[in-house]
């Protein structure tokens, strides 16, 4: 029976909406529908109940014109009657309590206060229609009395508690108590801790109905979403089109809601008041900034290949990996050097003769059980260098445009870097010289891959610069 009484779901929000946006006609209709249906299915004492509900209906139509009206409470009353299964459940307990208060026939702030506490016990969802109907049947007290409780409940259940719109704006036609307890109504609303049960469609409509200049805390966090306009510009190319719409405010709000729902809070905040021209400037600035950042990234990378964004990012990734390898290598070297030093010091202090011994004890190796490995590449206009280090062996690949006798210079450089050249292989291919050098690092040398590559490139470039193009001098 109780389920029969339930209103079609769309009816319910509609009624809620009307209470908010105050559409008298639909409200009356909704009320009528609700009442008639409930009247049909009313279990007990149908006659009495229907009589009451007819009264309610009158009240509904009546109060529609009134801003501060009990009809809204009546609405909520009918809501509670007809839709016990809905959010109105929280209304029901107070309803019940109000029933008990009916006998006292006193509608006062005390009751309201009392109902506050009752409403907090809204965990009970098991409230049955029969109770309502029975309470209705039992007392012929004007339903206005019990309606006093509902305004609070319905309002709060209707809107998210953090939305200040409904609560503070007296223009909205929300359930209000009878004139006698007008003040009281607003109080409970504020300090009620209700579970937020926003109905998204309603919420959006509320946003739309509110004058655009209204600032609500809910959208304060969405001010960030406004800044999203810029961020999102890339992903949603309709940005420009959007701003040309007539009612920018509403569209912006819609997009705000949409964005904040889709993307949550994203990074930067910008102060935008929602004016279209400001967004344009921001959008352009945003794009320029982004391009500038890509360029900065490209400038950081030592071997930029192409100029498109994907290549820049790819190069940056490779470079970061290379830097990490270099850092590890250097840390290892520093550590090794420190060990050697300490060992040397110890030898010297212990025994002077020991100073001439081989400086690297086998024991030293135990300090560095990790294998040193490193790899990086460098390119310049005419030279490409690939340096790989494993343990104490360095493999260098060198490719350069045919111009000078690079072997000599490379050999010199390797000597400077304390690298023992073991193998050289390569030759002249087409326009290029290609060589592979196998070297061993002399003991105690703390050269690292980066230093080798950089030095080689430097020398090669210097030689190229020093040699006139046509001559083949050494």
């Amino acid at each position: 029976m109780q389920t029969d009484r339930r209103q079609p779901p769309d009816n319910h929000p509609k009624m809620y909406e009307e209470t908010g946006c105050f559409d008298p006609n639909s409200m009356a209709e909704g009320g009528d529908d609700g009442i008639s249906q409930s009247v049909k299915h009313h279990k007990e004492d149908d006659a009495a109940v229907s009589a009451i509900e007819l009264e309610l209906q009158k009240h509904l139509a009546f109060n529609v014109e009134d801003t501060h009206t009990q009809s809204i409470s009546i609405n909520s009353n009918t809501h509670s009657i007809h839709d016990p299964a809905n959010q109105n459940h929280q209304i029901l307990p107070p309803y019940e309590h109000s029933h008990s208060n009916w006998d006292s026939g006193v509608v006062s702030a005390d009751h309201m206060g009392g109902f506050d506490q009752n409403e907090n016990d809204q965990s009970q969802q098991s409230f049955i229609n029969t109770d309502i109907s029975s309470s209705f049947a039992q007392s012929q007290t004007p339903p206005l009395l019990n309606l006093l409780q509902f305004p609070r409940c319905t309002t709060s259940s209707m809107l998210p508690p953090n939305s200040s719109i409904s609560f503070t704006n007296p223009d909205h036609h929300f359930p209000v108590p009878p004139p006698t307890s007008t003040d009281v109504l607003y109080d409970p609303l504020f300090h009620l801790n209700l579970p937020p049960q926003p109905q998204p469609p309603l919420f959006r409509e509320l946003f739309q109905s509110i004058p655009h200049g209204y600032s609500f805390p809910a959208s304060a966090s969405r001010a960030a979403a406004n800044s999203l306009f810029g961020e999102i510009g890339d992903e949603r190319d309709a940005t420009g089109a959007f701003y040309e719409d007539g009612d920018v405010g509403v569209h912006l709000d819609n997009r705000v809601l949409e964005f904040s729902r889709d993307l949550g809070c994203i990074g930067r905040r910008r102060e935008t008041a929602g004016k279209p021209t400001k967004h344009f400037a921001t959008e352009r600035q945003r794009r320029e900034q982004l391009n500038g950042k890509f360029k900065a990234l490209k400038d950081l990378v030592p071997n930029p290949t192409k100029n498109d964004r994907a290549s820049v990012v790819g190069d940056a990734i490779e470079y970061i990996k290379e830097l990490l390898r270099t850092v590890n290598e250097l840390k290892l070297l520093v550590e090794k050097k420190r060990c050697v030093r300490e060992r040397r010091k110890r030898h010297r202090t212990e025994d002077d003769d020991e100073g001439m011994k081989p400086l690297v004890d086998p024991a030293d190796q135990s300090y560095n059980s990790s294998l040193r490995s490193s790899w990086l590449q460098r390119k310049s206009k005419d030279t490409e260098v690939d340096v790989r280090i494993i343990d104490d062996e360095v493999t260098i690949k060198l490719v350069q445009r045919k111009k000078i006798d690079c072997l000599l210079f490379v050999s010199r450089v390797l000597d400077e870097l304390q690298l023992d050249l073991h193998h050289v292989a390569g030759g002249h291919i087409g326009d290029y010289y290609s060589f592979l050098f196998n070297t061993k690092i002399y003991e105690g040398s703390s050269v690292y891959a980066g230093s080798i590559a950089n030095k080689l490139i430097e020398v090669m470039d210097k030689q190229y610069a020093a040699v006139p193009p046509t001559s083949c001098a050494y």
Partner: protein, 140 residues
């Protein structure tokens, strides 16, 4: 994470890593400069000579005439520090143009094989070159 923040983070990270590399390499350089020189090269050379002897590798210079004004040279010598560099320098100073040079090191010996092109369009005799090379090797 959107594009702008990703790029920004990348820039910051790269700069941070570059700074770390710089700091570490400076530290390494400092440690390097303050450390003492070792006597290692001499040890290496002594070892090299011994090894060559052990494996029966002899020092040798071979020069062969190839295709007119090209000479194919083959030098086996004791491995010495910076020897290769000095050899190349010597070649350059004599005006020899080397091509297809290959160096191999094995058991304390170094093998240099290369193709020597005509110098200043002179035609050089193989024997002459051989003697020249032997002198060079001795001197370096």
């Amino acid at each position: 994470m959107n594009k702008a923040t990703i790029v920004e983070d990348a820039i910051t990270y790269i700069e941070k890593l570059q700074m770390t590399v710089k700091v570490l390499s400076d530290q390494l350089l400092e440690m390097e400069s303050s450390s003492e020189e070792s006597e290692r090269p001499r040890n290496d050379e002594i070892n090299a000579a011994e090894e060559m002897k052990k494996h029966g590798i002899e020092e040798k210079v071979e020069v062969t005439n190839v295709d007119g004004c090209k000479l194919w040279i083959r030098i086996i010598s004791k491995k010495k520090r910076s020897r290769i560099t000095k050899f190349l320098e010597a070649m350059a100073s004599h005006g020899f143009e080397l091509s297809d040079t290959n160096v191999t090191t094995f058991k304390g010996a170094t093998l240099i094989s290369s193709c020597l092109n005509g110098v200043y369009s002179y035609k050089i005799e193989a024997e002459q070159v051989k003697e020249l090379l032997q002198e060079i090797i001795k001197s370096i």
